[in-house]
């Protein structure tokens, strides 16, 4: 049957190896997936299975040893560091598990970093910022340093930072890993809400089966191998 959906992310035989002293550790082994526009894809797997590494590779934050990664048909593995940086700034949003906010910047400054790095005159940042801080409920914490925010608030700031440039694809690396149930549900709700509103694609690494159940498709990573995984919605 012909599939009319547009492929936004396509990986083929991606391999990532690390050299640790004399040993070679293969974190990702011949990973091939295809993600369609507007999808919510979850990647599950045990600790050390290579989920985060694979996500970083897909987001262009790391380079594979071999294989190809295409986003919107652009082969990011062949891009120069500069082109990749610009591409990342315009198309990709990234949410880390441990927020990775710059400690000496306020919440607002952290959110606005992508706008400094990647100026897109066709967008109205002010309007988008207003929408985001209202949706994420961080309006009263904008001028606080990360150290003055709770874990949930820090993660919301990180989400706002990932979304400020209206990226087409958002990668989230266990965004709820450090949060309690209530905060985790709230963060997921926000991510899904903005995904729906903005028509984004969301690719999330998670341990949480409840979250994985809400995804359109699930992949499982095991020892670096990625395979489609069926998970009961019940």
């Amino acid at each position: 049957m012909k599939d009319d959906r547009r492929v936004i992310l396509e990986t083929e035989d991606v391999i990532r190896q690390y050299h640790q002293y004399d040993a070679v550790v293969t974190a990702v082994q011949r990973a091939s997936i295809r993600v369609f526009e507007g999808e919510f894809v979850a990647i599950i797997g045990s600790s050390g299975s290579g989920k985060s590494t694979f996500l970083h590779l897909c987001a262009g934050l790391d380079r594979p040893n071999s294989g190809t990664i295409k986003i919107r048909n652009n082969e990011i593995t062949k891009m120069s560091p500069d082109d990749l940086g610009e591409f990342r700034g315009k198309n990709i949003g990234m949410v880390f598990q441990n927020h990775n906010l710059i400690p000496q910047f306020t919440a607002l400054e952290n959110i606005l970093i992508p706008t400094l790095m990647c100026n897109r005159p066709e967008f109205s940042y002010e309007e988008n910022l207003k929408k985001l801080i209202t949706t994420l409920d961080i309006a009263d914490r904008l001028h606080h340093l990360p150290s003055e925010l709770s874990g949930g608030q820090q993660q919301r700031v990180a989400i706002a930072r990932a979304l400020i440039n209206l990226p087409q694809i958002v990668f989230a690396d266990e965004p709820t890993g450090n949060l309690d149930r209530a905060n985790a549900d709230e963060v997921l709700r926000l991510l899904l809400e903005t995904k729906e509103v903005l028509g984004q694609t969301l690719i999330m690494v998670t341990h949480d089966m409840d979250i994985a159940r809400q995804a359109d498709r699930v992949f499982k990573m095991d020892n670096g191998f990625i395979t489609p995984w069926h998970i009961s919605k019940e």
């Binding site: 790391d62 048909n73 940086g85 970093i113 066709e122």
Partner: protein
């Protein structure tokens, strides 16, 4: 529509938006520049402490550049003034007869009416009791040339210039030689200083990038590429550079004024663009290279190194810290973990202390150069035209006559007021007479100064022609014995024609292992010659190899009577023999080479001209004997020495050395403060688990002591190695490739400079480790007091 077509459409839209953006960028460029300047200024001044090291480094770098410009222009201006005080004319024509003068006066007057004058003024100096001829001093008009004057006024009027002595004064050669020397010196020093400045600024910037890796990782995650990172950094550095440029200029001006003891420090228009340009090049390269390297890394690798973990070298296995003492063992282990970081910091910062020592050494070398005496005059006794036709005398037989004359002349010259000593040299290179010597392989030190000659004579299997045959007399031997260490009896060559004196040095290095009593074979060409093309395609040892193959030689065995050790030498050593033997063996047709006349140091250069006349008178007795003639060349050495001494080269080198030394603390403190700032989390964890304040103070002090001890050792090692490198570079390497003259320098480390550099390194090593503790403690106490007052 399938997804491939959709992507193409998408791609088109993307490209259009890119083009639109580029157009907008063009329109907004001027606003963007202003915005970036404003942002950079705010960033730099609101975070002044963070950028203090860059302020200090750029101030020092700019001071160095300013200093170079001020001293160069001041030297050029002062030297011209000094030259004009002694020589206000461009050249002098000697040996003019009365009829020449009459012709010239006529012509000069007549031509004045016909053409534009090529001279400003001229003056005839009449004969006096020291000379029998007229001299003409000429000051040329601006833009005129000496050759044009001679062609126009002398040659065209039938005055034969070949018997005249035309000497250019330093005023004439000023632009070619003196300005050239100053400019060459400044350009060379400028290049070295630029390289050093780029190195220090790059080191500081790399330290900064390394410590802020996490932040740059986040920037890159959010879309920043090299251009974005570079543009923000370069603007910040440019703002700092613009802030310090004026202050450094004023400081350097003041330093120069003190050094020259005058406020008349010369300033020219080209200084400002030169300083700005050099400054831009330094900042641009120092920022660009590390930023480019950083931008090539993946954001993930930068983000994971958000603490000092990226500076840790893995110990491979855990330390057995059970039952070990705190803080001493703890800090020792920590130092080992951070060994690569410490090594880099030590070498980078102490490198400038080593460069300080090297600069002092180079200053010392310049002093040695200035102390080397050169002859004020060189008299050439021309015996090339000796005419013995019509007499029964052979060339050989007149040697005795000339020797007697030499002795009389020498006494006459050396008795003149102001003459220090004379040096009568007569030598010819072995290659010019197609000769060489054969020596045993145990004598030659290195393969590069000789070629294999096996099969020619048993035991003498190496051949060399890198020497001069030198005619020795008692006077010359006395001079050699006074200057160098001579082993054996050199005077024996005067008695025995089978004995020679040799030196063992090439390129200021011992190259041969001659001993008195050794025997060598000297070659005399019987027949055979190389093709002209051989001389085109081959040189040095290759020519000698060809000669050994193609020519026939007869050999004479000589015994080495004495060896001269450590003689200053470039590409030739000495094979000395008596005058008779020299003439007999080399078949050189003329006997006398030249007479170098050295003047007492400190003599006023204005006396040079009157002394020249006396010398000319003194050498008069040669003229006409067997058709001989004497030519005297002025070297203006006294004036040159006065000019060189007025340059304050040593003082300038010392100031440059001190400024370079000041870069060392900048690197020390910048690196260490950032390092300990990031170690605060570790220290707070230790505090949380019960570390007492005294223990922590000891920890920092101990870390400081380790660094101080290492710093002193590294300073001595680096200082010695770099000074030795400079010694080899100037004494042998540059000499071998023809970049410097054959001055021989002694290996030298200034003890006071070494003590200063060790003191600076030790203090910086200790304080840069201890100060973060005292700063942190003060901050904690202030914080506690603030909280307490809040609670109350």
């Amino acid at each position: 529509m399938d997804h491939r077509s959709a992507f193409k459409e998408d791609e088109r839209a993307w490209n259009e938006s890119q083009q639109k953006r580029n157009t907008n960028d063009g329109k907004l460029r001027s606003r963007l520049v202003w915005r970036r300047l404003k942002t950079a200024t705010k960033t730099v001044f609101l975070n002044f402490k963070e950028y203090a090291s860059f302020f200090a480094a750029l101030f020092i770098i700019q001071s160095l550049i300013w200093l170079l410009c001020f001293t160069t222009t001041t030297n050029i201006a002062r030297e011209r003034e000094m030259i004009e005080q002694t020589y206000d004319y461009h050249f002098i024509i000697d040996n003019l007869t009365v009829s020449d003068v009459a012709w010239l006066e006529n012509t000069l007057t007549l031509k004045d009416f016909q053409t534009a004058r090529s001279y400003e003024w001229y003056k005839f100096v009449p004969p006096d009791d020291t000379k029998d001829f007229y001299s003409l001093q000429v000051r040329l008009a601006k833009g005129s040339e000496q050759s044009t004057f001679i062609e126009y006024y002398l040659t065209r009027n039938g005055i034969d210039a070949s018997y005249l002595e035309i000497t250019s004064t330093p005023l004439q050669t000023y632009e070619e030689e003196y300005i050239g020397n100053n400019i060459n010196d400044a350009v060379l020093t400028g290049i070295i200083l630029t390289v050093l400045s780029i190195a220090v600024l790059m080191a500081l910037f790399s330290i900064r990038l390394n410590h802020y890796k996490f932040m740059y990782g986040i920037y890159m995650t959010c879309g920043a590429g090299f251009r974005r990172l570079f543009s923000s950094s370069i603007w910040e550095m440019m703002v700092i550079a613009c802030t310090t440029i004026l202050l450094s200029g004023v400081t350097s001006f003041a330093v120069c004024a003190v050094m020259y003891s005058t406020v008349n420090v010369s300033i020219t228009w080209w200084m400002i663009p030169a300083v700005l340009l050099l400054n831009f090049i330094i900042v641009y390269l120092a920022v660009r290279v590390p930023t480019r390297a950083l931008s090539r890394k993946t954001p993930v690798s930068l983000i994971v190194a958000q603490d000092n973990s990226n500076l840790v070298s893995s110990p491979r296995r855990s330390f057995k810290i059970f039952n070990k003492s705190f803080p001493y063992h703890y800090e020792l282990f920590t130092s080992w973990r951070f060994r690569k970081y410490f090594a880099k910091t030590l070498i980078t910062s102490i490198l400038f202390a080593a460069i300080f020592l090297c600069t002092v050494y180079i200053g010392h070398m310049k002093k040695t150069d200035e102390a080397v005496m050169g002859p004020e005059f060189i008299a050439y006794v021309d015996v090339g035209d000796v005419d013995l036709t019509g007499t029964d005398e052979k060339y050989f037989t007149i040697l005795d006559v000339i020797d007697v004359m030499d002795e009389a002349q020498r006494e006459a010259l050396e008795s003149l007021d102001g003459v220090n000593y004379t040096k009568w040299t007569n030598e010819t290179s072995a290659s010019s007479v197609n000769s060489h010597i054969l020596i045993g392989s145990d004598i030659t030190g290195g393969q590069e100064y000789s070629v294999g000659a096996s099969g020619i004579e048993n035991g003498y299997n190496r051949a060399s022609n890198m020497y001069n045959y030198t005619a020795l007399d008692k006077h010359y031997i006395d001079t050699l014995c006074g200057l160098y260490d001579v082993e054996g009896d050199p005077y024996a060559v005067l008695e025995d024609s089978n004995k020679i004196v040799v030196s063992d040095t090439l390129y200021n290095e011992a190259a041969f292992a001659f001993k008195p009593g050794d025997r060598v074979l000297a070659a005399r060409l019987i027949h055979g010659a190389l093709d002209q093309s051989d001389y085109l395609y081959f040189s040095g040892n290759e020519i000698l190899k060809k000669q050994l193959e193609k020519c026939d030689y007869e050999y004479k065995e000589y015994e080495i009577a004495a060896v001269i050790h450590g003689a200053q030498a470039s590409d030739s050593f000495i094979v000395g023999m008596s005058y008779i033997e020299y003439f007999d063996f080399t078949d050189v047709t003329h006997v006398r080479g030249d007479i170098k006349i050295f003047i007492e140091q400190g003599l006023d250069s204005s006396l040079s001209e009157s002394l020249l006349n006396s010398i000319r008178k003194g050498l008069d007795s040669y003229v006409g004997v067997y058709g001989m003639d004497v030519r005297i060349q002025r070297n203006f050495r006294m004036l040159n020495d006065e000019l060189v001494s007025a340059r304050h080269t040593y003082g300038r080198m010392l100031i440059i050395a001190v400024l370079l030394l000041l870069l060392s603390p900048v690197v020390w403190f910048f690196s260490q403060l950032l390092f300990y700032f990031k170690r605060e989390k570790e220290i707070n964890i230790l505090r949380m688990f019960g570390a007492r304040e005294t223990q922590l103070r000891k920890l920092y002090s101990f870390a400081g002591l380790i660094m101080a001890a290492l710093a002193s050792v590294v300073t001595v090692i680096l200082g010695y190695l770099s000074s030795y490198g400079i010694y080899k570079l100037f004494n042998n390497i540059l000499l071998e490739y023809g970049f410097v003259s054959g001055t021989k320098y002694e290996f030298f480390i200034s003890v006071p400079a070494l003590v200063i550099s060790i003191a600076v390194s030790v203090l910086c090593g200790f304080l840069s480790s201890y100060i973060p503790y005292s700063v942190g403690k003060t901050r904690r106490e202030r914080e506690a007091a603030r909280q307490l007052s809040k609670e109350n």
